[in-house]
């Protein structure tokens, strides 16, 4: 699960529980409670959207739109629609609460096996499938599990799925720059290192690494062996 979501899911669930309760109290007299109903749906939609809970946000937005139509010809069945939206949100909230509770248990019981597995995994981000493939092959020959992705597909989801200890990224890509890669990695999990690899000069790479907040950089100019050695060092540091 996205680190941001995992971190804030318990709070979201608590807040949503209160808002759903407040909204339900308005259903008995929707005309009088229309503004509160709309406000609670609106806030829930915003909070859910910020955490990427798009299904929840969509239902909340529908509820808000309906609540705002109360009192107008379009609001004829508003009470029924809003009540249905609240039931749907309550069900979704139950599922989210289970995830939040599961995350708490998993975090409390983190196993060294999971950490050990993650410690040898490298995700390579490069818009050139050939470059990415060559590095991937070189790492796997050294017993390091590696996966490649390009600048269009890279994101929180693939980080969550692959759970690498290290991200090795090209610097200049058409759809993503290295700073965005570093930002996304940090948001996903603050413990994952990022190594910049590029044909740029050491001076330029150093500057890029500093600006992006990367853990290190290495030029491609020396061939694959120095890159592989650098990856091994960073993986060893991550394992400590």
């Amino acid at each position: 699960m996205d680190d941001l979501l995992a971190r804030f899911l318990p709070q979201f669930c608590d807040a949503a529980k209160g808002r759903i309760a407040a909204a339900k109290a308005c259903i008995a007299d929707v005309e009088a409670g229309a503004a509160t109903l709309a406000s609670e749906f609106h806030t829930m939609a915003g909070e859910a959207a910020m955490l990427g809970l798009s299904d929840f946000a969509d239902v909340a937005r529908t509820g808000e739109t309906t609540a705002r139509a109360i009192g107008s010809p379009e609001g004829k069945n508003a009470a029924v629609i809003c009540a249905r939206a609240l039931r749907t949100l309550s069900r979704k909230l139950e599922e989210l609460q289970k995830k939040a509770d599961t995350n708490t248990n998993v975090a409390a019981n983190t196993t060294s096996q999971e950490s050990a597995g993650r410690n040898q995994r490298v995700l390579i981000v490069d818009d050139s499938p050939i470059s990415a493939g060559l590095l991937c092959d070189a790492l796997e020959e050294q017993g390091i599990e590696a996966e490649t992705t390009d600048d269009e597909k890279f994101g929180i989801e693939i980080l969550g799925k692959f759970n690498p200890a290290l991200v090795v990224t090209d610097v200049q890509m058409p759809n993503l720059d290295c700073k965005s890669v570093c930002d996304l990695v940090k948001i996903s999990d603050n413990g994952v290192a990022v190594l910049l690899v590029s044909g740029l000069s050491d001076g330029e790479l150093k500057e890029r690494a500093k600006t992006a907040g990367a853990h290190g950089f290495i030029s491609k100019g020396g061939g694959l062996d120095p890159v592989v050695d650098r990856v091994k060092k960073l993986l060893a540091e991550a394992a400590r």
Partner: protein, 126 residues
């Protein structure tokens, strides 16, 4: 003083404030949050970018933004930050004579990208 760009975020949802602050700080910014107008006013002059929610109990954010740009003469970047649909947000931003809007619907990662772009464009224009 830190070289980091400072952002002030006004929103009536404490959770939105926390999530956004957390994400923007990880992305390298200093973030000040305000849950109401008095907190907002206390920090307004210290920052490089103002992000303002629209539908709040005390005021509509676009009206506040328009007042800041107009009557108060605030010329730093001001953006609406809201769940309203984009056509509505665009119209409100135009009406308020501010720099634009950012939709909450795209999530926090899109917000970060947009903030990076805002500051990059600001640097280009000097």
């Amino acid at each position: 003083m830190s070289d980091k760009k400072r952002i002030l975020l006004l929103d009536d949802s404490p959770l939105v404030l926390q999530v956004t602050q957390n994400a923007l700080e990880i992305a390298g910014y200093d973030v000040v949050v305000a849950n109401d107008l008095s907190e907002f006013e206390a920090h307004r002059e210290e920052v490089d970018l103002l992000l303002i929610d629209v539908q709040m109990p005390e005021a509509f954010g676009d009206e506040l933004a328009g007042m800041l740009r107009g009557a108060r003469g605030v010329n730093k970047p001001i953006y609406l930050f809201s769940m309203l649909d984009e056509a509505d947000l665009a119209a409100r931003a135009r009406e308020a004579n501010i720099d634009g809007y950012i939709s909450k619907r795209a999530g926090v990662h899109a917000l970060i990208e947009r903030v990076h772009t805002i500051f990059a464009q600001g640097e280009q224009h000097g």
